[in-house]
Symmetry: C2
Subunit: 167 residues, 2 copies
Amino acid sequence: MSSVAIQSRAIYIAIMTQTPPLQPEANLDPFEDFLCFSVYSTGLAFNRIYKPLLDRLGLTYLQYLAILGLAQKDDQTVSELGEKLFLESNTLTPLLKRLEAAGLVERRRSAEDERVVRITLTDKGRETAAEARCVPGELVEATGVSIESIAELNRELKALRTQLRGG
Amino acid sequence: MSSVAIQSRAIYIAIMTQTPPLQPEANLDPFEDFLCFSVYSTGLAFNRIYKPLLDRLGLTYLQYLAILGLAQKDDQTVSELGEKLFLESNTLTPLLKRLEAAGLVERRRSAEDERVVRITLTDKGRETAAEARCVPGELVEATGVSIESIAELNRELKALRTQLRGG
DNA sequence: CGCATTTAGATCGCACACGATTTAATCACT
DNA sequence: AGTGATTAAATCGTGTGCGATCTAAATGCG
């Protein structure tokens, strides 16, 4: 059994808490030591925490993020929104059609460039966005994680994401 | 437009870097300040980094995690594996059937309790697991994130996940 | 102008996630 | 032993993510 070869452009993004390279024989617990798994499973946990709150707004987690993104700036293109969310049209187009069907956004081809689709929030969409902004305030600190340490965690994750995306 | 009511059991899980409660008028940038989004988008970035490496093993990201989980301990039940991955049978059953179809695992009903399905790695599955363990070693540090800071980040994420899951 | 190239979205197929429900087996308790 | 509750896994429907491909519009360039 051969180990997979090292890539030519040696990106190394701190993936785990143990020093690479790993030997197959190493006795490690992947789900404790792999940062990628901590990020993955924390994402699942966030999704589950948000879901009951977003259900009342009739939004999924991604739809919630999209609505917040649209509320930031009116009349964005699909690509523009995609840059904020780190997603592309293959994910956003169906999502935006669902939001349109729900009466929260309008999709219109640009007059200057017919390739471009511009998204605007409807009145109902703006109301939903305002409610969506209140959702995080509902999740209230129970134990000892301070706002400061969360801010720090957020900074670290953003730096990591930037590295993962190639700087 | 009504703000959503505070829940009776006031869980607050530090969700963002600004102090709640948020007013709808607050001029914030959700995608910079929301920890949930940093976790979400970092997860997407991890997925994309891993994909080309896992493609060579013929595994998806979740299949990779599942194989590593199965390699830790032989003859696990679906529920046992689910506890490691924070997933349930509605996600794992189809995934395990795909791994079975690929010849990497075997699924067998327990003789003692016919409700239980036990999963074992085949020889091919163990080979794949050994290769899978080498994958993180391929992702090599390019810039200034040290193993120590990654270990710290990992600890913080795990603590956060624990809180999100209700302690 | 003519035509290849590029670009923005859309479409398609596959694999997750997850709430809700179903099935079948076991347990609890009388 | 009987039966209602519980449990483990499977099934189903909806909504992401994403690689690959497609379409149509705009651009570049001789």
